[in-house]
């Protein structure tokens, strides 16, 4: 009922749910071993930025385009080609259709 057979193995979500529950239990146990002198009213809630003062909220947030900046930078050549292909030109959309059709014609018609 719960498991599916994939031909070379099986998948059972119930087992996975059990694993998750065990993981949460362990996490809870580890958490309860920690220090208990945290107070909300003291200076403890302030972030520690190597002694620098905290900026305002707007500037602290890591923006969407800043994430994976390195990924994009390292694959720059690939992305340049890819962005050039996504030209946004309506004629190009139909051109790609014709190109695929031509390749498919050759594959089917010749072979």
């Amino acid at each position: 009922m719960f498991s599916i057979d994939t031909g070379s193995g099986f998948w059972n979500p119930i087992l996975w749910v059990l694993v998750i529950i065990i993981a949460f239990l362990m996490m809870y146990i580890l958490r309860s071993l920690g220090r208990k002198d945290y107070r909300k009213t003291t200076e403890q809630i302030k972030p520690f930025l190597s002694g620098n003062p905290e900026l305002e909220k707007d500037k602290m947030h890591v923006r969407g385009s800043n994430l994976y900046w390195g990924f994009r930078e390292s694959l720059k050549g690939f992305y340049n080609v890819l962005l050039k292909l996504h030209s946004g030109n309506t004629s190009d959309y139909i051109l790609w259709f014709v190109v695929i059709m031509a390749i498919f014609f050759i594959i089917i018609g010749v072979i």
Binding site: L83, H86, S87, G88, N89, T90, S91, I94, L95, V98
Partner: protein, 119 residues
């Protein structure tokens, strides 16, 4: 072979239409290209249904010497073409109203400049 000319005309119409869509830079030319492709397909359907020396499949005041069914052209492609013509005008109207809106916003009909959406 000479009598395959209507079929070759169909192929030519489709090619001309595709040419207009791919190589012309004006949006209205794109629309006209699609209309031409559609005319080509309509002509193809009707040509498929033609029988040499046939008469239309209408019995009102039919000449007596028509052999049935061999002497009549095929009715199904004609029905399909009727549907296809109305579909064509519907698509055309919608496309042109979008073109009018595009001109209102972008101020141009050049395909190469109408690409705020890319990447």
């Amino acid at each position: 072979m000479i009598f395959n000319i209507p079929f070759i005309a169909v192929a030519a119409l489709i090619i001309i239409g595709l040419y207009a869509v791919i190589f012309r830079k004006n949006l209205i030319k794109t629309v006209i290209g699609i209309t031409i492709i559609e005319s080509g397909v309509n002509l193809f359907l009707i040509t498929l249904g033609y029988r040499e020396g046939g008469v239309p499949p209408i019995y009102t005041n039919l000449p007596e010497d028509v052999s049935i069914p061999r002497g009549m052209v095929l009715p199904v492609p004609q029905a399909l073409t009727l549907t296809s013509i109305v579909i064509g005008v519907a698509v055309l109207a919608l496309m042109l109203s979008l073109v009018i809106h595009i001109y209102r916003v972008y101020g141009t009909l050049d395909v190469r400049r109408i690409r705020r959406l890319r990447e």
